[in-house]
């Protein structure tokens, strides 16, 4: 039964992808990418990758759609027709697809317990996580401790993206925007979305906090939580206007969140070094290595959440500020 549903979702995915390529209306394309992400999230969920599904839904379907729309507000809705056509691109994609299909002939069956990925490191993780960390969610254990250095790298990818947008869009300090008379923006005159939205915002933020602090037990963690909380604040900005959202969470706070989150994560690593362990070896943080691991995971997840939330909101505001300038 689940296979039928997965097949249905994957077919929809292909149809959406073709539609994204075909359409010349960029607004439609953005909406379709949002649907694409939602379908993808459903697919991840069917494959039992709940952590990834959460991220894809919050970031792919939620935040990036808003950022794409803010970018569209700066440019235009229609794709410029290009001379030359798309035959070369189509040919390249066709060849690549054929190569990947060729590769998949020798692929282990989906869910095959004898597949190499289930034989080598995965059993070790499953066996050792209770012993070393004593937390139920092995995915969190892998992401934040066994391969914590990768996650630190990802936080710095987010950090780089954030400073890149701020640097290239050249957002000036808030002085000018504060002085200018604020036109009423947002959806203030639309009663129903406003009332419903206002009701939703606190629950979204609360859910974000739950995902943040429950990441060791269930699906979730800092990355998903940061994205969910950012979605809540962006919803608030859409309802009440960007200036109102900036009054609630000013730009300086956002920058402090990004910088603070990245530094917090790194600082945990450095403290581990100073206490005589390897970089990011949380076991040395407390007398009991298991508690040390748990403590380290908790703190770095907080750092991830801060950095992701601050970065997504900074990027959103950078586009919105650019919009109000023009």
């Amino acid at each position: 039964m689940i296979y039928v549903f997965a097949l249905f979702l994957l077919t929809l995915l292909v149809i959406t992808a073709v539609a994204i390529v075909r359409t010349e209306n960029l607004f439609v394309a953005v909406m379709l990418t949002s649907i694409f992400s939602l379908l993808m999230a459903a697919n991840f969920f069917i494959l039992d990758a709940a952590d990834v599904a959460l991220t894809e839904a919050a970031v792919g379907a939620g935040v990036t759609t808003v950022i794409f729309l803010s970018a569209l507000a700066l440019t235009g809705d229609w794709e410029k027709p290009r001379p030359g056509g798309r035959t070369v691109a189509l040919g390249t994609v066709g060849v690549l697809a054929m190569l990947l299909i060729y590769a998949s002939f020798d692929k282990p069956r989906l869910g095959d317990p004898e597949a190499p990925v289930h034989q080598h490191v995965a059993p070790w993780y499953l066996e050792k996580t209770p012993e070393y960390m004593d937390i139920p969610n092995v995915v969190t254990a892998i992401l934040s401790s066994f391969r914590g250095y990768d996650t630190l790298g990802e936080v710095f990818v987010v950090f780089a993206a954030c400073i890149g947008v701020l640097f290239i869009l050249g957002v000036k300090p808030a002085r000018q925007t504060a002085a200018a008379p604020q036109p009423v923006s947002g959806l203030r005159h639309h009663l129903i979305p406003q009332v419903v939205g206002r009701l939703l915002v606190p629950f979204i933020v609360l859910f974000g906090l739950y995902v943040q602090f429950h990441g060791e037990y269930g699906p979730g963690g800092g990355f998903q939580a940061g994205a969910i909380i950012a979605t809540g604040v962006i919803l608030y900005a859409l309802l009440e206007g960007e200036a109102e959202a900036l009054r609630a969470v000013p730009r300086s706070v956002l920058l402090a969140l990004v910088v603070g989150g990245a530094l917090l994560y790194g600082a945990v690593g450095v403290v581990c070094m100073l206490k005589g362990g390897a970089f990011l070896d949380y076991s040395v943080l407390a007398a009991d290595p298991v508690f040390g691991q748990q403590l380290g995971i908790l703190v770095i997840e907080a750092g991830v959440g801060m950095a992701v939330c601050g970065a997504l909101l900074s990027i959103f505001h950078a586009f919105a500020a650019r919009e109000s300038m023009t």
Binding site: L99, L100, Y102, A103, S104, F105, D106, K107, P108, A115, P116, V117, H118, Q119, H120, V121, A122, W124, Y125, K128, S145, F146, R147, G148, Y149, D150, G153, E154, F156, V157, F159, A160, A161, I163, G164, L166, F167, I168, G170, K172, P173, L255, V258, V259, A262, L263, G266, A267, G269, V270, M273, G276, G277, A278, F279, L280, D281, Y282, S283
Partner: protein, 497 residues
């Protein structure tokens, strides 16, 4: 653990954690000073690591205390030590010289973000080089690519934006290809650690995914490394970037991608797949030869100084790939040496360009008349580095070209024709360097131009000359890079377990 044991981790952590701190340093002088201090510290770490490697130790570091393949391992051997030296050296030297040039090109309130991006680029490149984990390499590739897009787009030249957009699209395709390849290998071996991959890939019976993975990884990294004909993003990106960014990136960015390509291919694929060495040669050799000849001839007719040098970089990447395509110890030695020497020569040339840019807004060759009279020291440094790029005896460039010719002769029947290619392209290099010299020394200054003596700021000039002198020093005493290059070759070709 002792301080020395932490060095591989510190190599990445020091510049990476300095970046968020730099964002907070608002007065611009402070941001530059902080970034330069971090750059110099990582250069010092690279030197310490190289010394340790020369003593015969390979440094292995288990991140988080988890041994490979369960955790992520860092590993510094001769090859990584050599590339680390040139990455951090280029980063530190460009930062030392950068202040005056960056002050002219980037507004003061944006400078902290600029220097933060610079350090992230440095940390990303260093992270790729020290990593022994295929996925970790991807993560740091993302950091370094994002940082280089930011840096290139940062200048006052608006033409950088379309150039960087092209780079972004092609770079992302390259990184995605690499990731697809790593995913396929993971599917068949269940591991991400390179050494573990090497051990387990021999047991794989069904080879389709591995072969496709080898293709994706090679093409993806070749895109990142600007191997001909996947180089189209490079000339414009380097031409319109801020001058100091060009110095940094031209010296080391593409070489790191080549480093991963050579390491991945020789560690994981060449030992374990039958005929893979032959296939690799069949793929890399024609591209290298074409790249050398086509890019050199384009450079001969190029009218803009920066684009001329950027185009010549594509030809130099061809030399490095040519050495690797022999799959012999001599070939890898030549490749590694040429990475090092080309970084010195091209870094020095772009530093001299940054000096020229102080008094010549327009860097087209036709506008550079009388430059030698106004800026004699800059022009002399440019000539020294140009000679090294050509490969004149007594300069660093000669050593690697000599090694390359030796390796070509050893490679078999076609050796002589490859030697001819190297010689012809060196003659082409003479032509395009001569065109620069002609413009600087013998061209009439434009009538309304100022002809008084006006050198570049001392700080920038000193770094430029230091690099120029290093080109001569390593031409006369190439022992240090040569020892590391020989070590890399023995490791990658000779010492396969």
């Amino acid at each position: 653990m002792t301080f020395m044991e932490h060095l591989p981790a510190l190599q990445v952590v020091v510049p990476m954690l300095s970046a968020p701190l730099i964002v907070l340093l608002q007065p611009r002088g402070l941001a530059w000073a902080g970034a330069t201090a971090a750059g110099l510290a990582s250069f010092a770490i690279a030197i310490a690591l190289a010394m340790a490697v020369l003593d015969g130790q390979t440094q292995v570091y288990a991140m988080g205390g988890w041994a490979a393949p369960y955790g992520i391992a860092l590993e510094v051997d001769a090859f990584s030590a050599l590339v680390l030296l040139l990455v951090t050296g280029a980063g530190a030297a460009a930062l030392l010289a950068a202040r005056v040039s960056v002050d002219r090109q980037i507004e003061p309130e944006r400078q902290p973000l600029f220097y933060a991006a610079w350090l992230l680029g440095l940390a990303g490149l260093a992270g790729i080089v020290v990593s022994a984990d295929a996925f970790n390499i991807f993560v740091f590739m993302e950091i370094s690519s994002l940082a280089s897009y930011i840096l290139i787009a940062g200048g006052p030249d608006r033409r950088a934006l379309p150039a960087v957009f092209k780079y972004l699209i092609m770079g992302t395709i390259g990184a995605t290809f690499y990731l697809i390849g790593v995913g396929l290998i993971y599917m068949m071996t269940g591991t991400l650690n390179l050494a573990d991959m090497q051990a387990r890939i021999g047991d794989v019976v069904a080879l389709n995914p591995i072969l496709v993975a080898a293709g994706f990884i090679t093409i993806g990294l070749a895109l990142k490394a600007a191997v001909f004909p996947l180089h189209v993003w490079l000339p414009n990106a380097y031409t319109h970037a801020p001058h100091m960014v060009t110095v940094f990136l031209a010296a080391c960015a593409t070489k790191v991608a080549l480093y991963v390509l050579i390491r991945f291919d020789s560690m994981v694929f060449q030992d374990r797949l039958s005929d893979h060495e032959f296939q690799f040669t069949l793929f890399a050799l024609p591209l290298a030869v074409l790249g050398i000849l086509v890019a050199s001839s384009v450079a001969m007719f190029e009218g803009h100084l920066k684009r001329l040098l950027a185009t010549s970089s594509v030809a130099q990447i061809g030399y490095i790939l040519l050495g690797a395509s022999f799959v012999s110890e001599a070939g890898i030695t030549a490749s590694a040496m040429h990475m090092f020497n080309h970084a010195l020569a091209k870094g020095g040339l772009f530093l001299a360009v940054a000096c020229l840019a102080f008094h010549f807004r327009d860097l087209r060759l036709s506008e550079l008349g009388g430059a030698a009279r106004r800026m004699p020291l800059t022009c002399a440094a440019l000539v020294v580095c140009g000679l090294s790029l050509i490969g004149v005896p007594g300069t660093a460039g000669f050593i690697s070209k000599w090694l390359l010719i030796t390796a070509a002769l050893e490679s078999g029947l076609w050796g002589w024709s490859l030697v001819a290619v190297i010689l012809v392209s060196s003659l082409m290099a003479v032509v395009y360097i001569w065109r620069i010299v002609e413009a600087l020394y013998f061209q009439q200054a434009s009538a309304e131009g100022d002809t008084s003596f006006a050198e570049a700021p001392l700080q920038l000039l000193l770094v430029t000359w230091a690099v120029a002198l290093l080109n001569i020093f390593f031409g006369l005493f190439p022992h240090l890079p040569l020892a590391l290059a020989n070590g890399s070759a023995a490791l990658l070709v000779g010492g396969a377990p």
